[in-house]
């Protein structure tokens, strides 16, 4: 089975966010594989081990994403591809990323494409469905289980807490939801092996794309931090008196109940 994983490099969830020069400041920040993409990588590896084949992890971004791609290789992916847009693309949005990924994937004869259902930075969750639409293949988002049995694929999808069991077929694109699996940590031998695995770097030129083809459809005009919350009130006294006071405050001051 020919499996592709869509991966994004994101800020570590531990990071505090600050802004400098109208942009999110990233100097000194730790970066990780988007946690939802980690589920996607793990699932791809497990499916390859069960059905044989190959796992290729693809990322659109800058040279820095090599580190996260190496981590994916160390987990057990076979190949990695970095589509480096740093020099060609000044501004991008989900249209840009999806267009590039679809262009890359269109002649790869992928049986299965897996991505995270959302990236924890931009949080839009658009790229998976957009790529599937452009490749004209079915997609299922927020999956918590996938089983492949010959031609038939059975997927369980999380829908706001409900579970839908869906039947479909390959080729297919799915996006991972939490609960899909427990991503492995790269082992030491895995890390050693990853150094020798292929990591190709492509640019827009290699995909026959011009900058105009991937021009974003939206523009960010401002980024700001939420207003700092003032410290609240810690109630005092006997517990039952505190509870009475709290209920009173919620009703009369905050007016939320």
């Amino acid at each position: 089975m020919n499996i592709f994983v869509l991966m994004k490099r994101t800020f570590d969830t531990e990071e505090k966010i600050s802004i400098s020069g109208g942009k999110i400041a990233d100097d000194g920040a730790e970066f990780i594989i988007n946690p939802y993409d980690e589920y996607a990588i793990e699932e791809a590896i497990q499916l390859r081990d069960a059905h044989s084949g190959e796992v290729t992890v693809v990322s659109v971004g800058s040279e820095e994403a090599e580190k996260q791609l190496r981590t994916a290789l160390a987990m057990g992916a076979d190949k990695a591809v970095l589509i480096n847009i740093e020099d060609d693309v000044e501004e991008s949005d989900q249209f840009t990323t999806a267009r590039i990924l679809a262009e890359f994937l269109k002649d790869k004869e992928a049986d299965l494409i897996i991505g995270g259902n959302v990236a924890i930075d931009g949080g839009s969750g658009q790229v998976g469905p957009r790529v599937a639409e452009q490749l004209n293949i079915p997609y299922i988002t927020t999956i918590t289980s996938i089983e492949i049995n010959g031609e038939t694929v059975t997927v369980v999808r999380d829908v706001e807490g409900d579970s839908e069991t869906i039947e479909t077929s390959l080729p297919l694109l799915v996006t991972a939801q939490q609960g899909l699996n427990d991503p492995r940590y790269p082992s030491l031998p895995g890390i050693m092996k990853a150094k020798k695995k292929p990591l190709d770097e492509l640019e827009l030129d290699d995909l026959d794309l011009e900058e105009e083809d991937v021009e974003p459809k939206t523009k960010t005009i401002d980024i700001y931090l939420p207003p700092k919350k003032e410290a609240g009130r810690i109630l005092e006294g006997e517990i039952d008196a505190q509870v009475k006071e709290l209920v009173d405050l919620l009703r009369r001051e905050a007016k939320v109940v």
Partner: protein, 324 residues
């Protein structure tokens, strides 16, 4: 410049979801004096059309087909693209719900358009419509404009107020016949897991537990309090990882991002990842034994104490008020 905006209505268990009315209000704002067309897709849904008029829709179109009884991306996109073809709108609004998140990127991609997801505020700035959305799960915000293609947005439930309901306002529901073919994904089974129907992302009140809840049964008093307040139960990653509850309840940077009117955090330390998912709630109450817990930094009201003592007292107090 006034625009025509198509707004997708969503039905859950036979009733319109609140976000459908919020989407009409968002559509009105973007339409800038233009027409808002509310679309109902499903099987046997036209009786719900009048309520959409009452909440401000100028026109209601239904696409009914037994193949649309359950949501599928293939079926719904055929239906919606037919409506777009007939109405030629300048923009579309969806709820940022499981359905909206699944469907809107596909339609936007098909129409070579951008899409601003998870919008919490819509503003006018010098004749331009500006969309505000949280990024980094609410650790920051960005303002976006659409520069090319149709105006596509999904709105986060609970953030944009619906227009006041005009009782008695009605209109004629138009039905559009669409031939639905080739569904490539088929729903075989649905298991309802959500407790008592209040969805976490739409809940006005959330009672959330962390590691301090200590066990699966420790969530019982939290559920009782949530039920009493017509709310939903949520959890921190710690509580989910410890298997006290299902991952579908997780709130945080991985998990759901919520903005209820009232968030009651019980036995929850307030890891930065969790706070990203809830710190934009309108009012936050923290109950924790540890006075140094991070959660007190974002709380409007805090009680330093054992949740197993405080929560039952809260239940008792709210019951008294309900009875009086």
């Amino acid at each position: 410049m006034s625009k025509k905006i198509v707004v997708l209505a969503e039905v859950r268990e036979g009733a319109l979801r609140n976000v459908s009315f919020e989407a009409i209000a968002a559509g009105k704002k973007i339409a800038d004096g233009g027409e808002v067309v509310s679309v109902l897709i499903g099987d046997n849904v036209s009786s719900l059309g009048q309520e959409l008029f009452a909440f401000g829709a100028d026109k209601v179109i239904t696409v009914e087909n037994d193949k649309l009884k359950q949501y599928s991306s293939d079926g719904y996109s055929q239906a919606l693209l037919a409506v777009i073809e007939a109405e030629k709108p300048e923009g579309l609004v969806f709820g940022h719900t499981a359905l909206g998140k699944d469907l809107s990127p596909r339609i936007a991609s098909r129409l070579k358009s951008g899409l601003v997801s998870d919008v919490t505020v819509i503003e006018e700035d010098g004749g331009e419509t500006v969309f505000v959305r949280p990024i980094y799960s609410g650790k920051a915000f960005e303002k976006k404009i659409i520069t090319d293609g149709l105006v596509f947005v999904t709105i986060r439930p609970n953030n944009i107020d619906p227009l006041p309901k005009e009782e008695g306002k009605s209109g004629e529901v138009t039905s559009l016949n669409v031939n639905i073919t080739d569904l490539r994904t088929i729903i075989k089974d649905v298991v309802r897991k959500a407790t008592d129907g209040v969805d976490l992302s739409e809940a006005k009140v959330i009672v959330a537990g962390g590691r301090g809840v200590k066990s699966e049964s420790g969530f019982e008093p939290l559920k009782e309090l949530a039920d009493l307040l017509g709310g939903a139960v949520g959890a921190s990653r710690g509580a989910c990882d410890a298997e006290y509850c299902d991952y579908s309840l997780q709130i945080g940077q991985t998990g759901k991002v919520v903005t209820p009117d009232l968030y009651i955090a019980c036995g929850l330390s307030g890891a930065i990842q969790h706070m990203a998912g809830m710190s934009n709630s309108k009012v936050i109450v923290a109950i924790n034994k540890d006075p140094e817990a991070n959660i007190f930094k974002v709380a409007d009201y805090g009680i330093v104490g054992d949740l197993f003592e405080v929560v039952p007292l809260l239940i008792e107090e709210f019951k008294k008020i309900k009875a009086s």
